[in-house]
């Protein structure tokens, strides 16, 4: 018996244990699951932050090793191929060497100039193709082009460098009179070669060479023409050609830069001669920026300035100093632009090295070059490495991590003077077909668009929603209220893509065609309601009393319907009578307002649909929960119902209404499909109701799928999403807190 009882007990005990274990397991799993879900939601914010964060990480430079360039003479020019594995150095004596960047071991080499000739100057062309030219003491020039053949034997990259001579290895006379070449610029592409040489005799000569290949005999014939370019200055320090061989830049030490149009190779024309330095300063370095639109001038005062052509008031293109960087105190020794972006590295005489970006006006790196006697810089084409060439043929290698130089607070939110624009502007233009395009990442026009959308949406929605809420909560008969309130609330569930589609394809053309009628309706609707009230007032009281109280909204339905219908039908006659038959055109000719079919008026109305139910529902709740004894007291003291509404009910419920508007604003700010479909999506900054805009949200939706992962564009779009997230989160939080406090207050009343 005892045994049975004991067995029973132990079984009960083990069952109890199992139950307790289950209970604990359930609790733990709920805890883990719950925290995980909430953690996931938190993850959204953290992940956005994680993607955005690299935008604001400063550029980093790490010193790698220092090698010696395998050349007999001091290098006059150093460059790297695409992967940065093979370097090319050209000595001042015309010898060259391809070497492994990692250890400085020579791979291939030779001389660009024939045996016995004496090289006087070496110059490399633009970053695309890097045409090399060596000027000789006898006034002739050798043009060469380095080439790299990449192959993958055994799945490993192998780079085979080679030197090509597009116009032959024999020197080509380029100064005309046999005097030595002092300065040089050369470009070659598609069988066209242009060489500009500054001779010891003080003449600037442009030589154009074109190679024709005879297909049948496989013979090359060389056509040559030469012309002297008139030049005012006699102390030239720098020549540069653009890669299209249409523009020539000649800089003199006295600070003057002459700019020539050489599209006609027989007749170079001086476009402009400008003073590019401050008085008393000499030009010490000049380089065109990637893309060839602007050039950089470094002077003996340590200042580097960016110049490009801007249209002046007479509509002429004139060079203008756009911005300058005056961080150096010693003269600028070298400027090395990046290959693809609008950034550059610079070196001063004291060995200070800086990396800049022009668009964002940022100094990204500022440090000592670390190489004694540094005088030359060489970027790798991907701008992930920088070579500093110093005394005794030393090459110091730096690893550069500079992924997002184009972003700065100012570039994102301020006015920036972009290349080829006439003044600093807010522009969002994230991509273009050209590879050397200057991305324009100003978020201001997008935020402006978002604010504009929210403003016009609330402009329509707030009065309707709040008035409607007050009426529904306070005047409407209870039975009607149970039907009407959900009917309006269900609007919130309408997919916004449908609202956007109707706004873009139905409402926008309708509004354009009936613009006069729309304004007539906006004016007539309130008037007709007041008129209805007046008429009702004068109706016999027997009739009035037969209609139950609180049904004005139903009585007004036909009135509203009629007014809208009549306005639309009166639109065409009104236009014909007063606006020359076409109101948008009339607005344009009388006020200069341009009319976009998909404009803010359409967005405002469409977004009103999305926002009204939110504001309406929350403010209705707030008004409805105003304690009855307050209103009863007010009415008992002789106030009219409307006085009670304005002085008691609205005042008490105002925090609730405020939070309703905040939530409505939050929704309007984040709304995507409506603004995407019913505006033109052009990022203009114009507050006109007849113009479109581009909102943050629509911009994200349009551009996100096309942006490259990890690019600046990608991260800036994430930043836009983060901004949206924070704005709406802040709005909603404020609204929620206000509502909770209101609830407490109602509880106390």
């Amino acid at each position: 018996m005892d045994e049975i009882l004991a067995g029973e007990l132990s079984r009960a005990e083990s069952r109890r244990r199992l139950r307790m274990l289950k209970d604990r397991l359930f609790g733990v799993s709920m805890g883990v699951g719950g925290v995980a879900v909430i953690g996931t939601l938190l993850l959204i914010f953290l992940y956005l932050l994680y993607v955005v964060f690299p935008l604001f990480v400063p550029a980093r430079v790490a010193t790698l090793e220092t090698n010696t360039i395998p050349l007999a003479a001091d290098p006059a020019f150093v460059a790297f191929e695409e992967y940065g594995e093979v370097g090319l150095a050209v000595g001042g004596d015309g010898t060259y060497s391809f070497f492994a960047t990692a250890d400085g071991a020579a791979i291939a080499g030779g001389a660009l100039v024939p045996a016995g000739a004496r090289a006087t100057t070496v110059r490399a062309g633009g970053r695309i193709g890097r045409t090399l030219a060596v000027g000789l003491a006898d006034g002739s020039v050798v043009v060469a082009k380095p080439g790299y053949v990449v192959s993958f034997p055994d799945d490993r990259r192998k780079i085979a460098p080679a030197m090509n001579f597009p116009v032959g290895e024999a020197p080509i006379p380029a100064t005309g009179d046999g005097s030595a070449v002092q300065l040089l610029a050369a470009e070659t592409a598609d069988e066209q070669t242009t060489v500009v040489a500054w001779s010891a005799a003080g003449r600037l000569v442009l030589t154009h060479l074109s190679v024709t290949v005879n297909m049948l005999e496989d013979e090359k014939t060389l056509e040559k023409s030469a012309v002297e370019v008139p030049i005012q200055d006699k102390d030239l320090v720098f020549l540069s050609l653009n890669s299209e061989q249409t523009m020539l830049l000649a800089a003199a030490a006295n600070g003057h830069v002459s700019y020539y149009d050489i599209r006609d190779k027989a007749k170079p024309a001086l476009v402009e001669r400008i003073l590019a330095t401050e008085a008393g300063k000499r030009i010490t370095a000049v380089e065109p920026l990637a893309g060839g639109v602007s050039f950089l001038v470094g002077d003996s005062g340590g200042r580097i300035s960016q110049w490009f052509q801007v249209r002046d008031r007479e509509n002429n293109l004139r060079f203008k100093r756009i911005r300058s960087f005056s961080d150096f105190s010693a003269p600028v020794v070298a400027i090395e632009p990046e290959y693809a972006r609008k950034g550059f590295a610079a070196l001063d005489a004291s060995g200070r090295l800086a990396i800049y970006h022009t668009t964002s006006e940022r100094m990204l790196v500022d440090r000592a070059s670390g190489v004694p006697g540094a005088r030359l810089l060489a970027y790798t084409p991907r701008a992930d490495g920088l070579g500093v060439i110093g005394a005794e043929r030393r090459l110091g290698r730096l690893a550069v991590k500079n992924d997002h130089p184009e972003v700065s607070w100012r570039a994102l939110w301020g006015q920036v003077w972009y290349e080829s624009r006439n003044q600093p502007e807010f522009i969002w233009q994230s991509s273009s077909a050209a590879s050397d395009f200057e991305p324009k990442f100003s978020l201001t026009p997008l935020v402006f668009g978002t604010i504009k959308a929210a403003f016009y949406a609330c402009f329509f929605a707030v009065p309707i929603a709040i008035f409607g809420a007050v009426y529904t909560a306070y005047f409407m008969s209870p039975r009607l209220r149970t039907v009407i309130k959900p009917s309006i609330e269900i609007m919130a569930a309408l997919p916004t893509v449908i609202l956007g589609f109707l706004a873009g394809l139905w409402l926008a053309p309708l509004v354009e065609l009936h613009l006069a009628g729309i304004f007539l309706a906006i004016f007539c609707l309130p008037v007709s309601m007041i008129a209805a009230s007046l008429i009702w007032n004068y109706l016999p009281s027997a009739l009035r009393h037969r209609v139950p109280a609180g049904t004005e909204a139903m009585m007004l339905l036909p009135v509203v319907g009629f007014v809208i219908w009549a306005s639309m039908n009166l639109s065409a006659p009104m236009e014909t009578a007063w606006f020359g038959g076409n109101l948008p055109m009339w607005l344009n000719s009388h006020f200069g307002w341009t009319y976009d079919q998909r404009n803010s008026l359409v967005v405002g109305v469409a977004m009103g649909f999305a926002v009204i139910p939110n504001i309406y529902s929350i403010s209705e709740d707030a008004v409805f929960s105003v304690p009855q004894h307050l209103t009863n007291g007010s009415l008992a003291l002789g106030a009219t119902p409307w006085q009670t509404v304005t002085r008691v009910v609205l005042l008490t419920a105002s925090p609730g209404i405020f939070s309703a508007v905040m939530i409505g604003l939050g929704r309007a700010v984040g709304e995507t499909m409506i603004v995407l479909m019913s505006t033109g999506n052009t990022p203009v900054m114009d507050f006109s109701i007849f113009k479109g805009f581009r909102a943050l949200s629509a911009n994200i939706a349009v551009e996100m799928p096309e942006s490259a992962v990890g690019s600046t564009h990608y991260r800036v779009l994430f930043l836009a999403a983060l901004v949206l997230f924070m704005i709406t989160f802040a709005f909603n939080t404020v609204a929620e807190i206000v509502r909770q406090r209101l609830r407490v207050r109602y509880g106390n009343l």
């Binding site: 719950g34 008035f467 009426y471 529904t472 269900i490 007046l534 119902p641």
Partner: protein, 560 residues
């Protein structure tokens, strides 16, 4: 209370605040007009388009360019505009008119005339008739044809005359339909399956190579299987060629209102009708057939014609997978927040945060989904599990799974809030009774509280589904496409392809309405799609509301 008039004088009227009250009432009326106007608009346009419209023949006045060519077509729209605007649009309007009534004619025949819609000013029209034998031909390409039946031919020879033409046409159209179904089956199921199998074999071989297990025997087996499939392919292809030959047998000779003739192969026909000659039952049959096509067929002509079945299918499947993620996790989080977490300021803050997440713009979730799920998680999965397919991404690209996950994160706050509300409504007495009888907390929750909260969870789920079904912005980033080559569910192993891209009703509306080259022609279909989407979402919301109301009554009763 409202119109307790304080006398019928003007002053009394103004002082009573009655104008303001009426203004407030007017706001409600305006909102109602907006809501129901919108729904009516969508319903009318969405449902109306399947009805076979009358075909009119318009005799036009001669213009400066020459004599008026008669125009045959349906009236798509009509409106009154000022004459200035009409003239600006290039219409010839008599000088004395200030306003003009104009009709938008759906004239079809795009390949013959270069336009398929045309605005026609009423003053231009000399006479209108409704020819009983007017024919509308729906084609697989180039839109409708409006005109008259001239001949039916077999291998170039006429097979019928006069009154016999129409029955002959109907019979041959039936034959064509059978052939077309067979061709589609071979193209899609048979050949599609073979191609899928060959691709899998290629991947298998590549995988073996990557793992270093590609010995001769394994490769030979794969090769043999591949040869087998290739033979099947050749056979299927031969059969297909034969069918294509058969379907090309019949042609239809067609004459436009202007007298131009055109021969159309039957293979290109979809539907032929003479709406003017139809009686009401025939029209209803026609309507149902069009509606069936819309709901169950695939789109044609860059989505501007045909049906939206893949979009319906994609939407439903996505929403189901989303619910599988959102419901359990949302419920767990709600139970944790309400029943287990210590109720303090932190829980309050979390509650506010969860509430507010429901108000965060959906496009932000899309950005998150693209960055986190697609590129980060998906990219990692590809590198770990599908190295043989690289560099072509499998999960590292937008797809069904990521769309569902993104939307489940978007909707989880809705489920949490609704469930919490439900849990909060359950009277304490019930809980305490259960605990007092010796049940553990888990048992109380599982047996007593959760069953009572089920309707609240249902409400949350329904609201979540309704929201997810209507979202488009995040999906544009994480998985929808305008035209998916195959459904994410098919007969090829592993049957549910979570990595595939899919079509979605909401995106379909955006894409067809805004990205399609011929918006005018696509418009009716967009309205129909919009109606379908609105109907689904409204139904879901009404269900949620009615469940919530029933719930409230139940617990209000339990409280007292």
């Amino acid at each position: 209370m409202a119109t307790s008039s304080t006398g019928s004088t003007l002053k009394g009227w103004a002082n009573s605040g009655s104008p303001w009250v009426w203004l407030a009432a007017g706001s409600v009326s305006l909102s109602l007009v907006m809501v129901f106007g919108l729904l009516l608009l969508i319903a009318a346009r969405g449902l109306g388009q399947f009805w076979p419209g009358e075909i009119w023949r318009f005799e036009l006045a001669p213009t400066a360019q020459g004599p008026g060519v008669p125009l045959l077509g349906e009236i798509a729209e009509e409106e009154t505009v000022s004459a200035t605007r009409a003239r600006a649009a290039g219409e010839v309007i008599p000088e004395n008119l200030t306003e003009v009534r104009r009709l938008l004619i759906k004239a079809g025949n795009r390949d013959l005339t270069g336009f398929d819609f045309k605005w026609l000013g009423v003053p231009q029209i000399v006479a209108t008739t409704q020819p009983a034998d007017a024919l509308v031909v729906e084609r697989e390409e180039w839109g409708n044809l409006y005109g008259f039946l001239a001949d039916v031919r077999e291998n170039g020879k006429s097979v019928a005359q006069g009154a016999q033409l129409w029955p002959e046409l109907a019979a041959r159209l039936e034959r064509k339909r059978g052939l077309r179904a067979e061709i589609k089956h071979i193209e899609k199921d048979v050949i599609g399956g073979i191609n899928y199998g060959i691709e899998r074999l290629r991947l298998k071989q590549h995988k073996l190579e990557l793992d270093g297990r590609a010995d001769a025997a394994a490769v030979a087996t794969l090769h043999a299987r591949k040869l087998e499939l290739e033979q099947e392919y050749t056979k299927a292809n031969e059969h297909l060629a034969k069918l294509n030959q058969e379907i090309a047998r019949d042609t239809l000779l067609f004459r436009t209102a202007g007298g131009e003739e055109k021969e159309i192969p039957f293979a290109k026909l979809v539907r032929v009708a003479q709406p003017n000659a139809m009686n009401i039952p025939q029209k209803i049959v026609h309507y149902c057939s069009k509606l069936r096509e819309f709901l169950f067929d695939e789109p044609r002509e860059a989505n501007t014609e045909g049906g939206v079945f893949p979009a319906i299918f994609g939407t439903v499947l996505m929403v189901i997978i989303m619910s599988l993620f959102a419901t359990p996790f949302g419920v767990i989080a709600a139970i944790y927040l309400r029943e287990y977490a210590t109720q303090g300021p932190l829980t309050g803050a979390i509650r506010i945060a969860v509430n507010n997440l429901a108000g965060v713009p959906s496009v932000v979730y899309g950005v998150f989904g693209l960055g986190f799920f697609v590129y980060f998680v998906g990219g990692s999965i590809d590198a770990l599990l599908f190295p043989e397919r690289l560099p072509a991404p499998t999960f590292g690209t937008p797809g069904l799974l990521w769309s569902s996950l993104t939307l489940s994160i978007l909707t989880v706050p809705v489920v949490i809030v609704a469930t919490e509300e439900g849990l909060a409504r359950i009277p304490r007495a019930i809980r305490e009774g259960s605990l007092a009888l010796g049940a553990t907390k888990a048992e109380t929750l599982w047996r007593i509280v959760l069953p009572m909260a089920t309707p609240a969870m249902m409400t949350g789920l329904i609201l979540a589904v309704a929201r997810a079904a209507g979202e488009v912005a995040p999906l544009m980033m994480v998985g929808v496409v305008k035209l998916a080559p195959s459904l994410p569910l098919d007969g090829n192993f592993p049957y549910v392809h979570l990595d595939r891209k899919f079509m979605h009703l909401g995106f379909h509306i955006y894409d067809v309405g805004f990205q399609s080259p011929n918006v005018e022609a696509a418009r009716p279909l967009v309205y129909a799609t919009a109606l379908l989407l609105v109907a689904i979402i409204m139904a879901l919301n009404l269900a949620a509301i009615s469940i919530r109301n029933r719930l409230r009554e139940k617990y209000n009763a339990a409280d007292h």
